[in-house]
Amino acid sequence: MSKNKIASAWSGGNEPMNSEYGKMMMWFFLISDALTFSGFLTAYAFVRFRFETQWPVAEDVFTHFPGLKGDQPLLYVAFMTFVLIMSSVTMVLAVNAGHQLKRNVTAWWMVATIIGGGIFVSSQAWEWYHFIIGDKGAIELSTSEVMKVANRDGNVLSLSQIVQGMDKGHSANHELLFSDEEVFESIRANNNLVLQSPGKDHTPFNREATIKALDGAHVIQGANMYHNEYGKQQFANFFFFITGFHGFHVFSGVVLNIMVFYNVMLGTYDRRKTYGMVEKVGLYWHFVDLVWVFVFTFFYLV
């Protein structure tokens, strides 16, 4: 009688909420982690909202795809999203097989998940590399405002095209470094070049204002915590922090997956007669995918 009452109160009898202890704690950890990430993303939204007109447009920032020339906006990040969704699917399949105590099937799907996670982390490293090296370069004014150099038609030119000429230069700087003097000299010499804001409004300076703005300005190439050629400095800082924190989650997930995979191979969960650990690491892995869904939307789409 009293036992029934307890069972109905928790719907789980002597196992509260009908959930294994470790699984419930994993859920509670994920709740706190979700709140952490929402703190980051709302902070990002707040700062972006404040500087909306100067905020870099993601399609102008993430334009590379390995092996493809020219601008491929969103394509690479779409690929990364696909990889992560795919690895989430293989993780569900591993959990599913674990419920049926199928050791080999679980192991293979875990291998697939680990490979997916590895591809994602390396893709992120690749993207960071290109973000840090930079693309077209920019000019940071004495007011610490960042401006792109464009022609009168509003097309942004790379420093390489400005210094070496349109026919000899490349559309990106390709790791070449340019000094302040040679860039400013070329801008002063070419009547067709003006400074243009990198944000949504793309407002160009006129020629006079362009020349005047070069006083006390610096050339910046690439992005780090102090300078950001793509526009507002906070964009780079948030990019490093949020995608870095997420990437670290993916990396930890891969490590945890490898540990659980090792135990699957050893037959640990066969002896325990439960593959609960696969389920728990699966929850974590899906959460990482879930966070990416939001990061993808707020960093690359909106």
């Binding site: 928790w10 959930s19 979700a34 779409a78 795919m86 569900v92 899906h286 993808f296 939307t297 909106v302």
Partner: protein
Amino acid sequence: MSDHESPQGTAWIWKIFWLLLVITTVEVVLGIIKPEILLTSLAGTSILNLIFIGLTLVKAAYIVQYFMHLKYEVTSLKYAIYLPVLILIPYLTFILIFEGQAIFEF
């Protein structure tokens, strides 16, 4: 307890996969072409952005409900997980969107 039993087989997993893939593809295509008509301003942002946020929430719901299996947990666990998140995150967002406008006064 039959409503807490998860579906059998693996067909349901692939169904969710295709759904997530289609939603992501729609998002990416919309993000690349940015149809002029969807850039109309609505509720302080564009219709396109609202579509992105809506699709994201749909994706998130499917991941949590099916991949993370929350749909098939007991009610008490569902509430223990949903309530803190569904109360605190909208609250934080609300504070930042409405009270945060004060930043423009400085």
